[in-house]
């Protein structure tokens, strides 16, 4: 019975999100890789939607298991109705489906596929073992996110007590996506179990790997996608940190999903842009919104995306096209953003990083050169040693890029530039946050830098494999394959 309740509590939101994504997804011929990509992309919005509904229910009506279950069923029916309407509609069916040449499976592709499956199975076993060893996760998981989930679930009508802790150590300004999603699953199940936070972490971790593999495959071919997926699944820190139940992996999922969806939109031919009405942008907007509901860093990401695309696309396509795109992003973004604004306005306390109760003044920190050196040194050192790999990954990727060379497609240059600028702004933002930290800079960096780098890691892998030539291109040294891809 417990397993059935667990499956229903997790599966129904996943199904709803998958149907919603399918309803918005541009219409193409049935394609297995698109189906899998939609399944992976659905993981984040599923928990996001569940947590938003749960939080609004708590805020407006108080806790109710029946009410939450009814809301989930209503959402599922609405999603089905929307999908049905889309399938009946012919407004956005392209005149001709995009032609994609299917290359015969090469020996390289076969080897990569086998290695990817083996590595994924191995990573899954590692994840399960780590979860058995530490079922409550590591420090931040039990001290902040799972503690809040327990509070929301156990407190009944008094869940707001969570925000009254006088010293503020529970970070009451942190968005509630993960705690509320966990508490919502417990509410639907009718009891509390550590399996739920483990399952949430597992789904986010492996969905991120899936999005990297499938979106790079879609844009660059299967071999390149497998290489990208292999690199992520074989990053020890990514798997371990996912199993530790921190929210950096879910945030990384939303950052990656946004960037991947924007690339999918940008590579559509202009004709399809019109007929598809920027549908990927609506999904990208929802992912951006959910990133702000997951961690405060999501707000920086939202600003970075809007600024980078403004800088790249306005000179290229004009302000009118940019505003048209932003209006489509807003369709997905605004509903989630309203929930975040409501939370920040009614419950969250001021952010302790921006408005610290202790430490030197803002100006003193800004003018302290030693803070910049400490932070820069840490960025370089930890950047080179990132990921707990057997060798320096950064050096290896640089070597790989030099060996294979650049392979940027003409129609993707602007999109790649915008993504690189976004990642650059994120890094600059993190750098500034450490320099201006109210905590001891070295201590803050030691406990956080590798985690914030991990948030960007899936997106970085995605962009890297769009920049570097594919193995086929490098092996054949010809133009034929690149033209086919």
């Amino acid at each position: 019975m417990m397993i059935l309740n667990l499956v229903l509590a997790v599966l129904i939101p996943q199904l709803t999100a998958f149907i919603l994504i399918s309803a918005v997804w541009p219409r193409e011929k049935p394609n297995r890789s698109h189906l899998l990509l939609k399944c992976c992309l659905a993981v984040g919005p599923a928990f996001g939607l569940l947590s938003c509904v749960y939080f609004l229910q708590l805020s407006l009506f108080g806790p109710s298991r029946k009410g939450l279950a009814a809301a989930q069923m209503a959402l599922l029916i609405c999603a089905l109705a929307l999908l049905f309407y889309r399938l009946k509609s012919t407004e956005d069916v392209p005149a001709s489906e995009p032609v994609r040449t299917v290359l015969p499976r090469s020996r390289l592709q076969l080897i990569l596929s086998v290695l990817f499956v083996v590595a994924t199975v191995s990573a899954t076993l590692v994840f399960v073992i780590v979860s058995l060893k530490e079922p409550h996760g590591q420090w931040d998981a039990w001290a902040v996110y799972n503690m809040k989930a327990r509070f929301l679930f156990r407190a009944g009508d008094y869940w707001r007590d969570l925000f009254y802790e006088p010293t503020g150590w529970t970070s009451p300004d942190y968005p509630l996506m993960i705690p509320a999603a966990i508490a919502a699953c417990w509410t639907l199940m009718g009891h509390e179990t550590v399996v739920v936070p483990i399952l949430v972490a597992l789904l986010f971790t492996f969905a991120t790997i899936g999005v990297v593999y499938l979106s790079v495959s879609h844009l660059r071919g299967k071999s390149q996608g497998l290489l990208a997926g292999l690199l992520l699944v074989c990053t020890p820190f990514f798997i371990l940190h996912g199993a530790n139940q921190y929210t950096d992996v879910p945030l990384g999922f939303f950052l990656l999903a946004t960037i991947a969806l924007l690339h999918l939109q940008d590579v559509l031919p202009e004709r399809q842009h019109r007929s598809f009405q920027y549908r990927y942008l609506i999904l990208a907007g929802a992912m951006m919104g959910l990133s702000t509901w997951t961690k405060n860093e999501g707000v920086l990401f939202l600003a970075a995306i809007l600024a980078s695309r403004f800088a790249v696309f306005v000179p290229r396509n004009g302000l009118k096209v940019y505003l048209k795109q932003v209006s489509n992003v807003a369709i997905g973004l605004i509903p989630v953003l309203l929930v975040v604004i409501y939370f920040k306005a009614t419950l969250a306390t001021p952010n302790r990083m921006l408005f610290p109760p202790q430490g030197p003044s803002f100006v003193a920190k800004l003018l302290d050169a030693s803070r910049y050196w400490i932070t820069l040194d840490a960025f370089i050192t930890q950047g080179l040693g990132f990921g707990n790999w057997a060798v320096s990954l950064t050096a290896l990727l640089l070597f790989y890029l030099l060996l294979l060379g650049l392979g940027i497609k003409q129609n993707e240059r602007a999109s790649i530039a915008a993504s690189l600028i976004t990642l650059g702004i994120m890094l600059a933002g993190y750098f500034a946050a450490f320099v201006l930290s109210p905590l001891d800079v070295a201590g803050h960096i030691a406990s956080s830098l590798n985690r914030v780098l991990l948030q960007l890691w899936p997106s970085f892998i995605f962009v890297f494999f769009l920049i570097v030539r594919t193995p086929e291109q490098a092996l054949m040294k010809g133009e034929a394959v690149s033209a086919q891809l």
Binding site: W142, Q358, L393
Partner: protein
């Protein structure tokens, strides 16, 4: 190389994880720590705020406390949610989380604990595992 080193890292991680003894499932640090609090739940309110003090906690500037003291406090909060476990003073019920020790003198037996009347309506319950609870009836 781009295949070899990732796969090497993956293998290394897998081999390291196999060192875990499966008979230890359910005996992790957090689960065991939470069990210490089983005895004191009946003394705590269903909701509201209780006081907390522990070895190494800096009550004026908590962020300067020992890492292990902070860990104990946060674990207490994780365990006892939705009761707010606060290091501020003047609460009717306060938890003292210290090292494991014996009971106190002149004590009467309670279920799993000993208690002592401190006067002025204050009672101290000692659970013998480093946890004590002070209840004020005023």
């Amino acid at each position: 190389m781009l295949l070899f080193f990732p796969l090497l890292s993956n293998c290394r991680l897998f081999i390291n994880s196999l060192k875990f003894d499966l008979s230890q499932v359910g005996s992790d640090e957090v689960t065991l720590y939470q069990k210490r609090f089983d005895g004191i739940r009946n003394l705590l309110p269903v909701r509201g705020t209780v006081g907390y003090s522990g070895d190494g906690i800096n009550q004026a500037e908590y962020w300067k406390s020992d890492a292990s003291a902070l860990r104990n406090w946060f674990l207490a909060q994780y365990t006892l949610a939705p009761v707010v476990v606060s290091i501020t003073s003047n609460h009717k019920v306060s938890i003292i989380n210290g090292g494991a020790g014996g009971g106190d003198l002149d004590s009467s037996e309670k279920v799993g604990s000993t208690f002592r009347d401190l006067g002025n309506g204050m009672k101290l319950f000692d659970f013998g595992n480093g946890l004590k609870v002070v209840v004020s009836e005023q």
